[in-house]
């Protein structure tokens, strides 16, 4: 997400980051399906792949002019193409982030961190999950905290810190007894499995971090 000056993110760099994320999701499609098969309904990889493939198509035909407009395009595409739990939750995340970005043509690290915080709040507002429920929220909470701690750093640094924390957060879901989403039906039996949405959150943040380098 390196901007012209290497320190901000533009509509173009955000779009490029989303394309990179789509490639990563496609690559991990089967892994996400397998994670969801173990404790859910075996569709998370398919859902995410359908959504991000649709984002790429949308970016091929539209050229949103601000980072907020790019995020909004991602949001509406996810909401209208994904379905399931992941569609509305990730859709809301991008929608809230977009709102936070306003009409800035370039987004600096500080605004980016605020947008990440807004995304997390959106997911929690819609899904009512708190930390420890074994959902994507368990990847997002530490990611946003780490991003906030990274503070005024370069965007790549901020996102790398977030991705690292998200990885650990996703890892932490392995030992949890899920209380939200499909895995909650399994109770204790879900222990020992990573939450697929936490994993996809970590994958997305890593893709964004790599794109920003």
């Amino acid at each position: 997400m390196r901007g012209a000056q290497g320190e901000t993110c533009t509509a173009e760099t955000l779009a490029a980051a989303l394309r990179a994320a789509a490639a990563v999701i496609a690559e991990h499609r089967v892994e996400l399906i397998d994670l969801d098969r173990a404790i859910g309904d075996a569709d998370h990889g398919e859902n995410m792949d359908r959504g991000f493939t649709a984002i790429v198509s949308a970016l091929d035909t539209a050229t949103p002019e601000t980072p907020a407009a790019v995020a909004k395009l991602a949001a509406t595409t996810l909401i209208s193409k994904v379905g399931g739990a992941a569609g509305p939750l990730y859709g809301t995340a991008f929608l809230r982030a977009s709102a936070k970005l306003g009409d800035a043509a370039e987004v600096d690290g500080r605004l980016l961190v605020e947008a990440l915080r807004a995304a997390l709040e959106g997911v929690q507002a819609r899904g009512k999950a708190v930390g420890g429920d074994a959902t994507m929220v368990d990847a997002l909470i530490p990611a946003v905290s780490a991003a906030e701690e990274a503070g005024d750093a370069e965007i790549a640094t901020i996102l790398t810190a977030a991705a690292d924390a998200a990885d650990k957060g996703a890892e932490s879901t392995v030992d949890l007894v899920p209380r939200k989403g499909r895995a909650s039906y399994l109770g204790e039996r879900a222990k020992g499995h990573m939450d697929p949405g936490a994993r996809s959150t970590a994958l997305l943040l890593r893709a964004f971090a790599e794109a920003a380098k």
């Binding site: 098969r37 569709d43 398919e46 499909r182």
Partner: protein, 333 residues
């Protein structure tokens, strides 16, 4: 796992084409977003009853569209709830002044997507209400969790609310009726095999030749307990016990007994299980006044069954008996 399909990505769209061709007298299918609509919708002066959810549970929901049951169904991808714009399209295609009732099975995805659709429709000035059905006793309910799943009770709810809408009940009345049904219907399921979703290479869970999953849902999620294979007598006894004690159903209660196949269970086995359930309920003094036996809410090719009990009163019985004309349920017409 082998399937009669061309491409996992087009399964639902292609299947809807076949549904439309087979039942053009009862329903039509609109594309992009895909919805299934009663052939005569919108029906003036009648509440629209709309449901939907992931595909792979057929005949639910598309097979229940028609006179006296659903006004529209919104099919998502296999095991994936539909998106808000598809639900909104169904609302717009069917809803007039009488308003619409959305029947939502309690899954995070379904609740979130239907919620958004309801907001969008309300913003357009339509009177849209939602009810969430969560009849699966396998899942312990709690405000801190996703809560119970909506399963077999959905079929009965769609029939009964559809009949109320058909006779001209107001949206308030249909909604109140729906809440009443939800309050007195309970289900439990068990699986002998797992389904395989078309886009996945493998079955949703692995079961040994001598194992069954007790307390499964309809999406290939594992159940609450893996146990050894038992006789039909033992399995059904356990299921009846789980359902009866939950509401609880009491001696003298009149009920509708719904013995459902998860898709791959032969009818010869399903009727055998139904016979056992009838006997066990009679032993408890619970009076089976109506019954439904067959594959009505399925999980692809999964072998297994579910039992649903609905407490009946005169009103519910009358609405159950009311004429219905859909691909999967038809009587009185």
């Amino acid at each position: 796992m082998k399937k009669i399909i061309n491409d996992p990505k087009t399964v639902v769209a292609e299947s809807l084409r076949g549904l439309a061709a087979a039942h053009a007298d009862v329903l039509r299918v609109e594309d992009d977003p895909a919805i299934v609509v009663r052939v005569d919708a919108p029906v003036a002066g009648r509440v629209a009853v709309i449901s939907g959810g992931g595909s792979g549970h057929e005949p639910l929901h598309g097979g229940f569209v028609g006179h006296g049951m659903l006004t529209a169904a919104v099919p998502g991808a296999v095991f994936t709830s539909p998106t808000p714009d598809a639900v909104e399209a169904a609302v717009k295609a069917t809803t007039g002044d009488a308003g619409a009732l959305l029947i939502v099975k309690n899954y995070t995805g379904d609740v979130l997507n239907f919620e958004t659709a309801a907001e969008l429709a309300a913003a357009e000035g339509l009177d849209v209400r939602s009810v969430v059905i969560d009849d699966d006793v396998a899942v312990k309910d709690s405000t801190y969790t996703a809560g119970r799943r909506g399963v077999g009770g959905t079929v009965l709810l769609e029939k009964i609310t559809g009949a109320a809408a058909e006779r001209g009940d107001s949206l308030d009345a249909v909604e109140a009726l729906a809440r009443k049904v939800i309050g007195q219907v309970r289900s439990i399921g068990a699986a002998l095999t797992a389904p395989t979703v078309p886009h996945a290479a493998e079955p949703s869970f692995d079961l040994a030749e001598d194992e069954i999953e007790f307390g499964i849902g309809i999406h290939g999620e594992p159940g609450i307990e893996r146990t050894a294979v038992v006789t039909a007598d033992e399995l059904v006894a356990r299921m009846v016990e789980a359902v009866v004690t939950d509401l609880p159903f009491a001696e003298g209660d009149k009920v509708l007994l719904f013995t459902n196949s998860m898709g791959g269970t032969p009818l010869v086995e399903l009727y055998l299980a139904h016979g056992i359930a009838e006997r066990l309920l009679a032993e408890r003094g619970i009076v089976v006044e109506r019954r439904l036996v067959g594959p009505y809410i399925t999980s692809l090719e999964m072998q297994g069954m579910s039992l649903t009990l609905l407490k009946l009163d005169d009103e519910l019985t009358e609405l159950w008996d009311a004429p219905v004309n859909t691909p999967a349920l038809r009587w009185g017409v």
